[in-house]
């Protein structure tokens, strides 16, 4: 028999808290030691109860889950924090994982996954809802070798480089045309030719290319 795990429920929705409480208490080794309806409340309870697991909702009035997360970690350092939320944006996931959350469960799958997620988190693993792992992996896709790209860039004509740099800075074709003393049509042609040589499809990929290779600096 494993030791009892103290659980803190943080959700602004009382009915849901009650339901979750019922579900968790069906598990003999889980004990709900507190329910908080807001971030502030959660901080107080976490400090007092020192739970082993915090089920944290992200959107709450006042202090939300995202903001409360770092403070909760400080108040209850040993607690594993499992996010239970409606939001399926990878941005939220990034944010909370960065801030030390141990797992991420979507509410739409709470009935099925919550318990196994709790188990995984308590085992020391990180649990992320399967549909969202993709967003995490995308950042790790292999980067293109930069020196090759610079060579490609250097193989462009001076004019093409100038036009592409201006385009990457976000100027309109007309503005580029005026700046470089060309006709807008010529600018279009240079741009299309240069991007084709670099194998780029749109302005965003051009900007990424330029940033990656230090051809432009951000925020200018």
């Amino acid at each position: 028999m494993s030791p009892i795990t103290k659980v803190l429920l943080v959700d602004d929705h009382a009915v849901l808290r009650a339901g979750l409480g019922l579900l968790l208490s069906s598990q003999p080794d889980l004990l709900v030691v507190g329910e908080a309806g807001s971030g502030i409340e959660a901080l107080e309870l976490a400090a007092v109860q020192q739970p082993d697991l915090i089920l944290l909702d992200l959107s709450m009035p006042g202090l939300g889950g995202i903001e409360a997360l770092p403070a909760l970690r400080r108040r209850a350092p040993q607690a594993r924090i499992l996010i239970l939320t409606m939001h399926d944006d990878p941005q939220y996931l990034h944010q909370v994982l960065k801030n030390g959350a141990a797992g991420y469960v979507l509410k739409k799958a709470a009935d099925v996954e919550l318990l196994s997620a709790i188990r995984a988190v308590l085992r020391g693993e990180v649990y992320v809802h399967p549909s969202m792992t993709r967003g995490l992996l995308e950042d790790m896709l292999p980067e293109v070798e930069s020196s090759d790209e610079l060579q490609q860039w250097n193989s462009l004509s001076k004019r093409e480089q100038e036009v592409l740099r201006q385009v990457a800075y976000g100027y309109t074709s007309n503005q580029v045309a005026i700046e470089l003393n060309l006709s807008p049509k010529t600018v279009e042609t240079y741009r299309a030719r240069g991007m084709e040589k670099l194998g780029l499809v749109d302005r965003a990929s051009l900007v990424r290319f330029a940033l990656r290779n230090g051809l432009i600096t951000a925020g200018q």
Binding site: D11, L23, S59, H87, K107, D202, S205
Partner: protein, 489 residues
Amino acid sequence: MKTEILRKLMARFWELAGGVNVRIKIMGIVLGGTILLSLSLMYQVHHALTAIMEKDLVSQGISIGRDLAVRSTDLILLNDPYALNRLLLETQRNNSDIRYAFVIDLYGNVAAHTFGAGFPVGLIDVNEADPQSYQNTVQLQTQDGRVWDIAVPIFEGRAGSVRVGISDQRIQRALFDMTSQVLLTTVVVLGLSLLAATFLTFILTRPILDLVEAARSIGQGDFSRRVRRWANDEIGDLADAFNQMSAGLERANEGRLERELLRRQLFERVLTAQEEERRRIARELHDSTSQSLTSLMVGLRTLESDCDSPQVLQHSRQLRQVAAQVLEDVHNLALQLRPAVLDDLGLSAALERLAKEWQSRHSVQTSVIVQLGSERLPEQLETTLYRSIQEALTNVARHAAARSASVLVERRQTDIVAIIEDDGQGFDSEQVQRDGHLGLLGIRERAELLGGNLTIESSPGHGTSLYIQLPLVDQTIRESMIQESNISH
């Protein structure tokens, strides 16, 4: 054919006349008029004077001849060449017009003459006195000008004849002097009239130039400009009419501005209200409906763990699936209304999400780059950018038939620039802007509300780029502008 030539001539004339300004035209009129007048006057006077003076000269010559004939009769009869000679010389001395005078005796010999050096050969034969007539005059061309040779018979031809040569040198000189005088006067008058013309053109063109300048500034939107009524003439009337027009335009413009301002404010209010309402409903769906549904699902799940009846379990599972489906629908509905991520995490995350969702729905390759740093933009700016980009992407999906689209948002000095580009079929941007595409109009209106603007670059076959530029400056500037225009009304 004729009309063709005439037309060409007229065109040429207008090319010349239209090529110079009013000042030159008036100068030309004055100069041309003065010169023409003085030349014709000079010609007339010269002509008339010459005729009169010549007539005078000849009759003077005749009377001198007659006089000589009478006075030389006795001397010839007495055969006194010395006295005769003296008479001739004296007569010549008394009258400077006399070029020469001589007396021919009955035998055709020169009895006396005024030629000191010697009598010119052939002069005798150029004229002959007719004893029956009073006199006979012949005009000669000599090296020194015209000479009228007058032959007068002496004693009715019984004692020879007198010949007098009258030169017009003196009157030529007089005429030359007069012409020079007239010319000099003409030049002086010309100078004076040029001065007068300059002054006149100044008077004439200054109000016109004023009008031109005022018309130009009205064209540029400064309706407060008025012109002075310089004179009580047609140009003065024009100035009055112009001022009336400017006043009318100013009133109309003020009304237009006022309505525009009201329309803007209304639009802004509608936008804000709409956004507020959407946010409220989305929150409600998220915070209340969704949580209730989740509670339902969790509750069912709890029930299941305490239940042994397979039938009830089966039923409960179905109910949970229904609830999950409803939850999903509610979640999507809330997202469409207003994604919580926009409020919680900001523009970058919201756009990221929008693009991903859009890409999977329309299978158009979409990339998003947001370079704004970690600092959040003002809420109004974020909403405007998000909605504009949403609208732009909707347009791309609806019209562009694009393979890829890109969204770029970056800070440029004090501006935020958003660029939405696709490689679709494009359109004639001028025509679309003229026809007033509602979606684009909305984007433009939203941008202008924040003091920004929208630039569209597109041509058929070359894709479309929308450039949205929004000033990052605090909204207070815009508000103070609105207040200012309120005060001025």
